[in-house]
Symmetry: C2
Subunit: 286 residues, 2 copies
């Protein structure tokens, strides 16, 4: 983080679990953020040294988690927070507040989608993916939004020409696999410059997107050259399995953030490590 | 392999690539099999020592790969081979011969499905999965067949009470996710004893099927206790991505075999290592 950059405010919704509070205080101590903690101060598991940072912490009282969600969304609407993090609150409850037609923070016409960033030891570089959590079976327009979010996130990580793969089990689009029918029109739109300087290809299987040798053995010609920066999964089932697999079996560290609302939202879950939550905040603030 | 067991014959369809020939000769040298090689002997990349094993090798001449597929299927029908392996032939071509209504080897009413067996270093035991290659969006009856194949394969690996998980991104079945609607009826059928002594559960996400701690954190009560032996993926997109991911990023060794036809069929692909092909033969012969 550059010292020059303005410090952003992270609003934390119902911070009543230690994992989340530990993660947000880590970013606070490192000087990245100020905090708006929406809940009940006396029962928050604050660290012993919290008062040292009191000038960068604001508290807002909420009667319960539902109320906290409403107040956090309001803070974003009023420009008092630039990123949001879910703590001990059910995802559905938070999403209802975000999506609320009158008081929510998803503008009309915006697509809400989940982006994850992974550090995979066997790959040796970052890999982005979408969508493990929100869009079940993306339409062409929803995929178009996914491509936009992934391209923007890649650029934040200083990837000048993001390589984005639309996955499938096959490299042949067709009626048998309805998801693949949206891929060709999106590649045309990409070539027409809709997302700036990116390389988009698909359908390709996961191996051909990330393993040049497999691509060559199959004799497939792909502009991604087996070096995808970001993967778009055909559906939520596949994306979610991949998202859960990588930390479990491939030693991956993973950060996830919701795109589309007026500010990025961290939706880490109860099972996530403090490190995952910490990385997710970093991505939300990037 | 027990010395007592009768040696099976593996029919190899158009063995004109070195990877496949090397793998089948490895099993031959180890005494597991006899071979029926269907193709053109003079252009097969046979190893230098092949004549040492001539008494366990039969050749059958085929004019081309299509002809080889037809002849290999015929050998199985006539009881001359108990397992089949695809070599330098397109999967679709081989499947057409297997599925041929008059001369094929898929009996009416049988479901054809792919089963893979993985050795995952971070898991420390075998994990079976279905279906990364054949059934796109399984119906209830197709899933029932998958369960049967996985249970049988688990038992071959001496798992007395196979734990089989039906995956999804959520633990809540519902209309929003059509795949999940088949899960509850299948669990009922399992409880009624349809597949003998197995434990079947779902929908569960991948983490909750393989990580007891994640299961506990989520507060979910599952008879699998986070120790699934076999995973049934909701659809081919997810299964295929997982199947491709594990060797690439998790150091997994993987073997795959087609179930349903009159004999198991190894459908390894051009990009597979010799070791993968070798393991797949072992599974087909198990």
């Amino acid at each position: 983080m550059s010292e020059q950059r303005e410090r952003k405010c992270l609003v934390v919704v119902w911070p009543h679990d230690a994992h989340t509070v530990d993660a947000v205080f880590r970013t606070l101590r490192e000087g990245w953020v100020s905090l708006l903690l929406v809940g009940q101060r006396e029962s928050m598991p604050l660290p012993a040294d919290w008062e040292e940072y009191a000038d960068r912490i604001a508290f807002e009282y909420a009667t319960d988690a539902v109320d906290a969600a409403r107040l956090a969304v309001k803070a974003v609407r009023e420009g008092r927070a630039q990123a949001m993090m879910k703590a001990l609150i059910n995802t559905d409850v938070l999403l209802r507040a975000i999506l609320n037609k009158e008081e929510g923070i998803l503008q009309k016409g915006r697509v809400m989608s989940h982006v994850a960033v992974m550090e995979i030891p066997a790959l040796g570089r970052l890999l982005l993916m979408s969508d493990a959590a929100v869009l079940p079976y993306p339409t062409e327009e929803q995929r178009a939004a996914q491509i936009g979010y992934l391209a923007a996130m890649c650029r934040k990580f200083e990837i000048a020409q993001p390589r984005i793969a639309m996955l499938h089990c096959t490299e042949f689009a067709g009626e048998k696999f309805p998801h693949t029918l949206t891929y060709a029109p999106l590649i045309e739109r990409s070539k027409a410059g809709e997302w700036g300087n990116i390389l988009l290809d698909g359908p390709l299987d996961l191996r051909c997107t990330l393993d040049k040798e497999a691509l060559d053995i199959k004799g497939i010609n792909s502009p991604l050259e087996g070096k995808a920066d970001a993967l778009i999964f055909p559906d939520i089932e596949g994306a979610n399995a991949f998202y859960k697999t990588m930390p479990l079996f491939a030693g991956a560290e993973i950060a996830g953030v919701l795109q589309g609302p007026d500010c990025p939202v961290v939706l880490s879950s109860r099972g996530d490590s403090e490190l995952t939550k910490y990385y997710s905040i970093a991505v939300a603030l990037a």
